[in-house]
C-alpha cells in the first residue's frame, strides 16, 4: 500500500506539472502578446519592447515557464488585465460560491442515485425498476442549463417561491439566505448528475446480485439484507467510487455552466467573463485551480478504491471505469 501510495503520489505530481505545461503552452499560443494589455493603439516599437520586458514575454519560453510555475506554486496568479486586481484573492472569493455549490449538488446526487440505482436493479422485474432505468436514460440527455432555465421559470418566475438567481453580497453572513439562493442551482446539477450515477449504481448492483459469492452466502442462511451489508455493498462500491471521482469533476464543470444560468458569482462565471474579455490571467488562474482540483479528486478516488478493495492494492493502473 505504501509503495502504491508513493507511486500514485508521484503520478499526481507529474500530472500536475504536465497539466501546467499544457496550460502554459496553450495560453502562450494564443494570438497577441500579453504585453498588449499595457499598451494603447499605435504604440511605437520602443514602448512595445518596454512593455514586453516589464511583462517578461521577451524571455525564452522555458525560462518563462519556470518563472510562471514558481508563481503558480505560491498561488501568485498574476493580475487581471482589466481590473488590475490580483487573480488569486478573487478566485478564493469565488470558491466560496462554487465549492459549496459543487459539493452540495454532488451529495444530493449521491443520496438520490444510490437508492434509486439499487431499486432499478433489485426490482428489475417489477414495473418501477425499468421505469427508473428509463427515467435515468432520459435524464442523461437533458442539457443542464436547460433544466436550470425550466426550474427558474417554474419556481422563480411563475410561483415566486425562490430567487431566480444571484447570491447575497455578504456571501455566507446569513447562511439561510445563501442556501436559498443556492437551492435551485444545486437541485439542477444534482438531478442531471444523478441520472448518470443511477446507471452506474444499477450496473454495479446487477453485477453483485448475479454473483456466486452472494448466492453462496444466502445459501449458508444469511438474510438478503445481511448479505448485501456484509458483501454486496463493499463489492458494488468499488466501481461506483472510481466513477464518483469522475462525476465530482463533472459536477464541477456542470457548476461552471449553471453559474451562468443563475448569475452566481462563482468560478464558472468568472471564467466565462475572462474568456469574453480576453483576460488571460483570469482564464489561466481559473483553469489552473480547477485542473488542480480535478487531478486531486482523481487521486483521492483511487486511494478510496484501494482502501475498500484489498485486491486492487497490488495494482497500479485504475480499475473498472
Amino acid at each position: 500500500m505504501t509503495t502504491y501510495l508513493l507511486r500514485r503520489l508521484a503520478f499526481l505530481v507529474v500530472s500536475l506539472l504536465l497539466a501546467a505545461a499544457v496550460l502554459f503552452l496553450l495560453l502562450r499560443l494564443l494570438p497577441g502578446d500579453p504585453a498588449n494589455s499595457l499598451l494603447t493603439i499605435g504604440a511605437d516599437p520602443g514602448q512595445i519592447a518596454a512593455a514586453r520586458h516589464q511583462i517578461g514575454s521577451d524571455r525564452p519560453l522555458p525560462q518563462q515557464f519556470v518563472t510562471w510555475l514558481g508563481q503558480m506554486a505560491t498561488f501568485d496568479l498574476g493580475e487581471s488585465f482589466i481590473s488590475t486586481l490580483p487573480v488569486g484573492p478573487e478566485i478564493a472569493a469565488r470558491l466560496v460560491v462554487t465549492v459549496p455549490l459543487t459539493l452540495l449538488a454532488f451529495l444530493l446526487a449521491v443520496v438520490v442515485a444510490v437508492p434509486v440505482g439499487f431499486l432499478a436493479a433489485h426490482r428489475a422485474n417489477r414495473w418501477y425498476g425499468p421505469l427508473l432505468n428509463g427515467v435515468s436514460q432520459f435524464g442523461i440527455a437533458v442539457p443542464v442549463f436547460w433544466l436550470g432555465m425550466l426550474l427558474i421559470t417554474s419556481f422563480a418566475l411563475y410561483f415566486h417561491l425562490l430567487p431566480a438567481g444571484g447570491f447575497p453580497q455578504d456571501d455566507w453572513a446569513d447562511p439561510a439566505d445563501a442556501l436559498t439562493s443556492l437551492l435551485l442551482p444545486v437541485v439542477t446539477i444534482a438531478l442531471v448528475m444523478s441520472a448518470s450515477l443511477i446507471r452506474y449504481v444499477r450496473s454495479a448492483t446487477l453485477d453483485v446480485l448475479d454473483s456466486d459469492y452472494l448466492r453462496t452466502f444466502r445459501a449458508l442462511g444469511s438474510s438478503f439484507t445481511g448479505a448485501m451489508w456484509r458483501h454486496g455493498l463493499r463489492n458494488a462500491a468499488v466501481p461506483v467510487i472510481s466513477i464518483l471521482g469522475i462525476e465530482l469533476a463533472t459536477t464541477f464543470l456542470g457548476a461552471v455552466v449553471v453559474e451562468s444560468v443563475f448569475a452566481l458569482p462563482g468560478l464558472g462565471s468568472m471564467l466565462a467573463k475572462g474568456i469574453a474579455q480576453h483576460d488571460y490571467p483570469i482564464v489561466q488562474g481559473v483553469l489552473f485551480v480547477s485542473t488542480f482540483g480535478v487531478l486531486v479528486i482523481g487521486f483521492l478516488a483511487d486511494l478510496a478504491q484501494r482502501l475498500i478493495d484489498p485486491r486492487l492494492r497490488g495494482t497500479t493502473t485504475r480499475s473498472a471505469r
Binding site: 436514460q137 442523461i140 440527455a141 418566475l157 450496473s203 455552466v257 471564467l271 466565462a272 474568456i275 480535478v294
Partner: protein, 323 residues
C-alpha cells in the same frame, strides 16, 4: 403435430441464452479454433457467426426512429427552409400560426426555420467531433496497444492526464484562442474525445493481442499489418462503435453548452444552445422558443444513446440487455 409456439418474452426480461434458442438436433459445423477463442472473450464482430437474424433489438429501432427524424429535418434544411434564416419580417414574438407555424423569436426570426438549422448544426457538431476524435483516438491508441511495458505505462499515464483535463474548460480555452465558431467547438470537443477513444482502443487492442489466435496467426507467417487488418480491427470495432455512438450524444450536449455560453456557432445560423440562451429572457411570453430546442436536443441525444445500446445488444448477444 406442430410444436407449441414459444411464449413471447416481455421486453424487459432477460432474453433466453442464445444456444437454447436454436434447435438442439442440428449440430453447428465445427469452426476454426481462432473464432471459438474470440467468441468467448470478446464481443462478436457484427458480421460474425452469431448474427442475430430475425431478432431485432427494439432499443435500436426506437433509437433509429428518434435520431433519424432529426437527421431527416437536418437534410431537408439543406434544400428547403420555411423562411430565410435572417428574415425578420414576421414581427417580434409572433404567436404560433400561419405563416409562422411555431411563431417567431424576439428578433422576429421564424422559430421553425431556426430549429431546422439547429438540427443541422447539432448533427454537424456531433458527427464532426466524433470523426475527429475517432480518427485521432484510434491512430494514437492502436500503436499504444502494441507498445512495450515502459512506453505503454507512459502513454497510459499521459492519456489519464489528458482525460483529467476538464473537456469543457479545454473547449472554452480553445474557443477563446480562436473565435467563437462551430469549427472551434468541434475541434475542441473532438480533441478532448480523442484521449478517451485512444485509451479505450489501447485497452481493446491489448486484450486482442493477448489471445492465442494472434500467436497462431503470427506463427503461420502473417505480417503485423495483416494481423491488424484481419484480426485486431474486426475484433475491436464493435465495442469502439458503441462507444463512439455514446460520445456523439455527449458531443451534441457539449456543443449546446458551449453555444449557450456564447462560445458556439454565431447567429443567424445558431445552434439550439444559442437559441435557448436567447429565449431565456422571453420564457414567460413565448414559452415555445425556450422549450422546443431543449426537447429536440433531448430527442437527438436519447435517440443516439438508444442506438448505442441497441448496437451493443446486436454486437454481443451474450450480454444482459442494455446494461
Amino acid at each position: 403435430m406442430n410444436a407449441p409456439e414459444p411464449p413471447v418474452q416481455p421486453l424487459t426480461s432477460t432474453p433466453p441464452p442464445e444456444p437454447l434458442a436454436e434447435p438442439l438436433t442440428s449440430t453447428p459445423p465445427p469452426e476454426p479454433l481462432a473464432e471459438r477463442l474470440t467468441s468467448t472473450l470478446l464481443p462478436e464482430p457484427f458480421g460474425g457467426r452469431r448474427r442475430t437474424g430475425g431478432r431485432r433489438s427494439p432499443t435500436l429501432v426506437i433509437g433509429c426512429l428518434l435520431a433519424g427524424a432529426i437527421v431527416a429535418v437536418a437534410v431537408v434544411s439543406l434544400f428547403w427552409l420555411p423562411f430565410p434564416p435572417d428574415d425578420t419580417s414576421g414581427g417580434r414574438l409572433a404567436p404560433p400560426g400561419p405563416p409562422h407555424l411555431l411563431g417567431t423569436d424576439k428578433l422576429g426570426r421564424d422559430l421553425l426555420t431556426q430549429l431546422m438549422i439547429g438540427a443541422r448544426i447539432a448533427l454537424t457538431a456531433g458527427i464532426g467531433s466524433v470523426a475527429l476524435g475517432g480518427v485521432l483516438g484510434v491512430a494514437a491508441g492502436l500503436p499504444a496497444g502494441f507498445a512495450t511495458r515502459w512506453l505503454d505505462d507512459t502513454i497510459a499515464a499521459l492519456l489519464d492526464i489528458l482525460i483529467a483535463f476538464p473537456t469543457l474548460l479545454l473547449a472554452m480555452l480553445l474557443v477563446a484562442a480562436r473565435e467563437a465558431s462551430l469549427g472551434s467547438a468541434v475541434l475542441a470537443i473532438g480533441l478532448a474525445m480523442s484521449a478517451i477513444v485512444a485509451r479505450l482502443t489501447r485497452v481493446l487492442v491489448k486484450r486482442v493481442l493477448a489471445q492465442d489466435f494472434i500467436t497462431a496467426s503470427r506463427t503461420s507467417g502473417t505480417s503485423w499489418p495483416r494481423v491488424v487488418a484481419e484480426h485486431v480491427l474486426p475484433n475491436i470495432w464493435p465495442t469502439l462503435l458503441v462507444n463512439l455512438a455514446l460520445q456523439l450524444g455527449l458531443a451534441v450536449l457539449a456543443e449546446a453548452s458551449l453555444s449557450y455560453l456564447g462560445l458556439g456557432a454565431p447567429p443567424p445560423n445558431a445552434s439550439w444552445g444559442r437559441m435557448l440562451q436567447e429565449a431565456q429572457s422571453t420564457v414567460l411570453t413565448a414559452p415555445l422558443g425556450a422549450v422546443a430546442p431543449g426537447l429536440l436536443l433531448i430527442m437527438l441525444v436519447v435517440g443516439v444513446n438508444l442506438v448505442a445500446d441497441g448496437l451493443r445488444d446486436v454486437a454481443d448477444p451474450t450480454r444482459r440487455r442494455s446494461r
